[in-house]
Assembly symmetry: C2
Homo-oligomer: 125 residues x 2
Amino acid sequence: MSSCQTVADPRVQALVNDLIGRVADKWTMLILDVLAEQGTLRFTQIGTAVPGISQKMLTQTLRQMERDGLITRTIFPVVPPRVEYALTDLGLGLGAAFCGVWLWAEANLQRIDVARTAFDARAAV
Amino acid sequence: MSSCQTVADPRVQALVNDLIGRVADKWTMLILDVLAEQGTLRFTQIGTAVPGISQKMLTQTLRQMERDGLITRTIFPVVPPRVEYALTDLGLGLGAAFCGVWLWAEANLQRIDVARTAFDARAAV
DNA sequence: CACTTTGGTTACCGTCGGGAAGTAGGCACC
DNA sequence: GGTGCCTACTTCCCGACGGTAACCAAAGTG
């Protein structure tokens, strides 16, 4: 926070920490990414676009994101059911903010791999 | 990713997703923040600076961050023990990349709170 | 009448995280 | 010389979280 030159009101700090704790979640970030990347998607489309997520966590994470106002959930009353998810402007903002982390990850993949193998070699002694 | 105008090599994409999954962790982000904010810190100092973390998760997360090359762990062979943690340039880079998310969180605290209470009011019907 | 499709929910179970207690080992105090 | 004390852990126990797989609704199709 203060590394970003922001004020240090302890109450705000606590709230922000809390919010980060809820938003800095593996599945939330990955779902946010595919929605930012591909726009409006259906339930199963997100499921296949996010590698490794279970239906349960997909439902659960989408509900939480909807609750936090990051996405909208539109139900079409047809059979078989059709539900579309799209980012709100709040979600778009978070996606844009998280963009820097993605670029960092892409740029530093190899360095992290090197660090990890070096660490494991040290630990294996 | 592609929302950040990057190439879409599926292998790289998978690796980046994997890396995000490991780094986008509540405790990792909070520890990263206090280290970016306050510089070199000792074990217990991080523990008190990160609200709500248990000793076990503190140890575990620090080890993982050390393994990923985000922090350095310096042991002083004195009694009582003294261990200092500091960000590497890799960790500093991640902290800088994550800065945008922190600013977003601070700027949108109230909007998320509004969205959440509205959602809960709808769900309570 | 059975079968398919889609977006879930539920039961079961293994793993992860929190809380509290234990550990090392040298030093200060009584 | 025994009793604490300090710090950075580790270990044990238990509750909560996440994965797997099965089930469900409701209309259309063969």
